[in-house]
Symmetry: C2
Amino acid sequence: MARRAKVSIATVSRVINNLPSVNQENRAKVEEAIAHLKFIPNVNAQRLASGQNNSIGLVMPGYPGMFHSFYAIEIIRGIGHACETLHLDLVFHITNGFNPINYNAVGGIIFADIIENRKQVEEAVSRGIPCMIINNQADDLEVDYIAVDNRLGGEIAADYLFSLGHRKIATVTGNLNTQAGALRLDGFKQYLDKKKCEVPEDYICKGDYSRRSAHLAIEKLLALKERPTAIFAASDEMASEIIGVIFETGLKVPEDISVIGFDDGPSCLFGTVGLTTVKQPLFEMAEKAVRLLYTAIQNKETDRQRLTLPPQLVIRESCLTPNRSK
Amino acid sequence: MARRAKVSIATVSRVINNLPSVNQENRAKVEEAIAHLKFIPNVNAQRLASGQNNSIGLVMPGYPGMFHSFYAIEIIRGIGHACETLHLDLVFHITNGFNPINYNAVGGIIFADIIENRKQVEEAVSRGIPCMIINNQADDLEVDYIAVDNRLGGEIAADYLFSLGHRKIATVTGNLNTQAGALRLDGFKQYLDKKKCEVPEDYICKGDYSRRSAHLAIEKLLALKERPTAIFAASDEMASEIIGVIFETGLKVPEDISVIGFDDGPSCLFGTVGLTTVKQPLFEMAEKAVRLLYTAIQNKETDRQRLTLPPQLVIRESCLTPNRSK
DNA sequence: CTGAAAGCGCTAACAA
DNA sequence: TTGTTAGCGCTTTCAG
């Protein structure tokens, strides 16, 4: 052990923890010993003795397709990146609603959206573990959250389409069990309501973010006697699928039908037409979530953090003024 | 504490660890207490006292685009899933080549491919930590690995195209710094060599798995005086981009040019033509990696595990017998 | 089958 | 500034 290599014991701890109260000479000796012995402190002992835990849990729902969504990946990337720079261990946990994370194993927990697992959040909170929820404005829970303003996102999409002159605007929603999906639809409807622009029932097609669901939806939409001139898809993936189907039908985007997506993911850039979309700051949101949680862990008592990040319109080629000649 | 709720101390530990040497009565009492107090054992203390660590590290290179690849996601999914069912904590670590994982924080480590971080592997091995490498046949290291047989994959692609009658076969490679990319190219060339089917230098375009690189490559290929009749892309993403560009040029897939991909990812299913591809069992590989590592952690001494999994041809619509009329 | 007691490797007072 | 000394909450002999 480094201790006998030199002359001390608690001093080693002090050096490791970078405490100022160590003179140069001893510090140097210890550092030499550490390097020489390739010593790595035992985190379990550190955590046990100090009662601190420099690792955070990431709890993510494991439903099918989740991990192939742009959404999940950006969250993982952002959180992973922040943990790396903050030197936090990231304990990654795929949840199914049961099988909770071990609350003693982490210093704090980030829930990437909550669907089936409200109970887990409540449990963690009741145990006094710092928690942070991503992308769910859980105002009814005593928890911090940081979310994209999805309602605003829906409004932005509707506003853009409406301003372009569209009056027959349909939407293919995301999974309405997710708050994001519900809110986007809400913002969309609300805005159009306010503008006295009626959205018939069959213009609102329930999707679940998947290409499959979008495929079904767009076929229904195209079969309508009164076809919409514009479509708001709650995800880029769906938008891209919708565009594909429209083209197969012989119609054109944006000339015949305008399509706007949501996410600003990779599907925007590749394909026949660049996808106009509503961008959400996913990576940034995830990073910030870690930073906020981190400070919450360090300062036992902090104010409730409830942040909302605005999405942004990204204009490419898939939307146009509607064709009057029709 | 559960202990005073009943009458014991080490017995609680025995119950928690499911040791047989506890009589029914006491066991019941302890379990009642645990449930009542919502007691969760402190993992740090457990790990410290037992010297065991039921968590495994996942080290993944963090280069750009990595996390949007089908590859990375399947690995993460597979590992996450296996950890969940085996009740292992998964410590996720994005590496940049430095900043190693804390070897004392985990019971074993899975390296998802190794590119810049051979040193990390060597370090971990030298410390006696069970390690498992995914998708890199690191025969020169004293480590277990499990990999897809990428060379065979290259052969399979070449064989299919060749058997269809193609003789002018080009390839867009993956990142040749990855073993997978190099091996696929190798198998491809080797097979064609054996068949005395010459592959001119400019039929071998270096890509890096990205759509961007594929875009550049296919443009070069199409500009050739002697255009290939078939193309082997080292990833589906690239294949899909290639097909897109070919269509834009006014040519057709597979009528004018056959395209085969690699992965069997989501890009296969959506698009104008179903993509014929070489499927690799990524999820299964990742799961198995965890299982093997797990047993290696438990039984201190185990045989070297060096497994190779065969990829599989998946035929859809993007390949055809070459057009003789040309 | 069960309790007592000695640590696991470290941090954190407390003296010196 | 430094060493000494208790524990952190558990597992694990070792008696009983």
